[in-house]
């Protein structure tokens, strides 16, 4: 029986989701869907954390393991995705009621999108990759278009949908070419086929198209155009979910595909394989993300460009995999966990600042809030410091491990790490600007003052995220060796 614990998180989530749908429709008085959804996500996250820590050996049947992985990395990403989804559900509990968008579909879509993300993170076959990716994406497209009365939301959703389906079609065509080359659709079979000398043209074209499709989903530079519009158009809790859980799942499958399917020396070689291409994307993302974010007036748009920059930092870790295998993978895993809690904290504090239909969106809205409501401004300070990589926070150790892995792999990677440090120094400007505006700037006369909302949900979400950021910042060791165990299992 214990072998099924690895699948328990997924089954629990589906059961919880169906219960929530029935509750939303049949409950007489207004059901507290936010609580039920976040409890379901929390329990599923805790079960996967327990399975990860206890390290029970999986003996799940063949028809399951040929499509979904049952290793520690899958469980680690379950924890990351469930945390991100639970935090965004709690934030939604406060946000939707405060601004009058209270509709049950939000929670159902978030939960099943998180389910799709977990399937995507666990997939070891191109088919389950495609189905998981589509389940997650359809949910997120609907979440972005949820506020259908606002032109920004529908436009953002339209642009995200069109580019998202285009990237999914490219990913699919790459998978078809890889299947034509190797006769297999599972990553291990593809690696065998490539090693056994498949047709190099098909393999190259297939690999290129699959990597392009996945790079789109992690919003690395040449394929990032949808990110600012979708993040700004969506409601802030939906933006939290998109920037956190979707990015983690996309990087999870990126790692698995690169390490397992394209792990052979030829495609992993420093000269001709995928590392140099991804290194270029990483550099571009870091530089463009930071410089574009500097000129933004809207905080959500700034956080969108900063998420492109963070995608660049994580890509540095992904590229370092070709030389220092499990150290780089554990750095990426840790970074994604740290980014999840820090970004949820920052966006949650932005939600806290707006109330009664007036959302705080731009820097000017936050003028002088720090002095008027110091307690309400505290989470924002911690979140921004962590995103910037300030020492005692989770973000610092995330960046530290990733750049450490890059330095250890030597050669051109050292320059990449240096570029990363420099661009994150530039990044400090627009993060510190939030703190400066909140504490030093005075609101102009007649400007409507931002009044923080009083909502139990948002306060719980911020305290959980805040605690996680500080805990990861002060004692990263425990989480890091979980990540190392997961990484060693993948590389072995």
């Amino acid at each position: 029986m214990s072998s099924w614990i690895h699948v328990a998180p997924l089954v629990l989530l589906v059961g919880g989701g169906l219960f929530i749908m029935l509750a939303d429709v049949f409950a007489k008085e207004r059901p507290e869907l936010a609580t039920v959804t976040s409890v379901a996500l929390g329990v599923s996250g805790c079960v996967s954390l327990a399975a990860l820590v206890s390290g029970v050996a999986p003996q799940t049947p063949a028809f399951l393991t040929s499509y979904l992985a049952v290793d520690k990395m899958a469980l680690f990403f379950d924890v990351v995705i469930c945390t991100g989804a639970a935090l965004s559900t709690l934030l939604a509990g406060g946000y939707l009621r405060e601004h009058g968008y209270e509709r049950g579909e939000f929670y159902v879509l978030t939960l099943f999108s998180a389910f799709g993300a977990m399937v995507l993170a666990r997939s070891v076959d191109l088919l389950s990759l495609f189905v998981g990716l589509e389940t997650m994406s359809l949910g997120v497209y609907a979440l972005v278009a949820f506020r259908r009365a606002s032109a920004r939301a529908v436009e953002g959703a339209m642009k995200y949908f069109l580019l998202g389906s285009f990237a999914a079609a490219i990913l699919l065509f790459g998978s078809a070419l890889l299947y034509a080359a190797t006769g297999h659709t599972d990553y291990a079979g593809i690696a065998e086929g490539i090693a056994a000398g498949a047709d190099p043209r098909l393999v190259l074209a297939g690999m290129l198209l699959v990597v392009v499709g996945l790079t789109f989903k992690v919003s690395a530079v040449p394929f990032h155009m949808w990110t600012p519009d979708a993040y700004e158009g969506a409601m802030t809790p939906a933006t939290t979910f998109m920037s956190v859980a979707v990015k983690a799942a996309a990087f999870a499958v990126f790692l698995r595909v690169l390490v397992v399917a394209f792990g052979d020396p030829m495609s992993m070689s420093e000269a001709s394989g995928w590392p140099p291409a991804l290194a270029a994307l990483a550099a571009l993302s870091m530089v463009y993300g930071n410089f574009a974010a500097v000129s933004q007036q809207n905080i959500k748009r700034m956080l969108a460009y900063s998420s492109i920059a963070h995608a660049g930092y994580v890509l540095v870790g992904v590229v370092a995999v070709f030389r220092v295998g499990d150290e780089a993978i554990s750095a990426v895993l840790f970074y994604l966990l740290a980014y999840t809690v820090s970004n949820a904290l920052a966006l949650g504090s932005l939600i806290l600042m707006g109330s009664k239909g007036r959302e705080a969106v731009s820097y000017d809205d936050l003028r002088g809030v720090g002095r008027r409501h110091p307690m309400a401004a505290l989470p924002f300070v911690i979140g921004v410091l962590s995103l910037m990589g300030f020492p005692p926070t989770a973000g610092f150790f995330g960046k530290y491990y990733v750049f450490n892995a890059a330095v250890h792999s030597g050669g051109g990677m050292v320059w990449l790490a240096l570029l990363g440090v420099l661009s994150s120094a530039v990044g400090a400007y627009y993060y510190l600007r939030v703190i400066v505006v909140m504490f030093m700037k005075e609101p102009e006369k007649g400007q409507v003052l931002a009044v923080p909302m009083r909502s139990g949900y948002v306060v719980t979400a911020l305290s959980i995220a805040g605690l996680a950021v500080m805990e990861l910042g002060l004692m990263p060791g425990w989480f890091l060796d979980l990540a190392v165990q997961a990484a060693q299992q993948l590389v072995a």
Partner: protein
């Protein structure tokens, strides 16, 4: 390869290409939907040459029967007017991407057109309902269950975007507008 199969392949390939070009080049969305329909039917015939019998039927049932119908439905909803002749925006970048994509596609197509693979005789139940059914319900069990969640998300997503607000939501909306008005005053 029997001549009958070759004729069916050549015919369906040509009609499929014609349908695809028709969809891309049509000025009015309704005409594009019709050529998409022709394209889908031609592909169904192509699947027959590849002895994918169930797939040809499913292609006609799902694509021709439901998806194109939905496209035509939405086109009729929006009004099948011709594309309004407004200034073509960003002509340079579009012609550039057109030529670039054509070059990439034709080079890839020609380079992989001589992939070596011989016509292995397919087993008896290959591509039939039993063969695909066995594979679908015995081996591909996990994606089959996950696809039910994909359909669930598609329905809930479409309903969330498209349905009218219920009374409870309208009351909440009014509360929000009142709050914003009173705060602005």
């Amino acid at each position: 390869m029997t001549t009958a199969k070759f004729i069916l392949f050549a015919l369906s390939a040509l009609v499929a290409l014609g349908g695809a070009l028709g969809t891309v080049a049509a000025r009015r969305p309704l005409r594009a939907a019709m050529s998409l329909l022709i394209h889908i039917i031609a592909l169904a015939a192509l699947y027959l040459t590849l002895s994918a019998h169930l797939l040809a039927a499913v292609q006609l049932l799902v694509y021709a029967g439901a998806v194109v119908v939905l496209f035509v439905f939405v086109i009729m909803l929006i009004g099948p007017g011709a594309e309004p002749p407004h200034r073509q925006r960003a002509v340079v970048s579009r012609t550039l991407s057109l030529t670039l994509m054509t070059i990439v596609t034709t080079t890839l197509a020609f380079s992989i057109s001589d992939v070596a693979a011989d016509w292995v005789t397919a087993p008896a139940a290959f591509g039939t309902v039993e063969g695909v059914g066995n594979a679908l319900y015995k081996e591909a069990l996990v994606p089959f269950e996950i696809v039910s969640i994909t359909l669930l998300v598609a329905i809930v997503g479409a309903v969330a975007i498209a349905r009218r607000s219920t009374k409870r939501e309208i009351a909440a909306k009014r509360g929000r507008e009142a709050g914003a008005a009173e705060q602005a005053a």
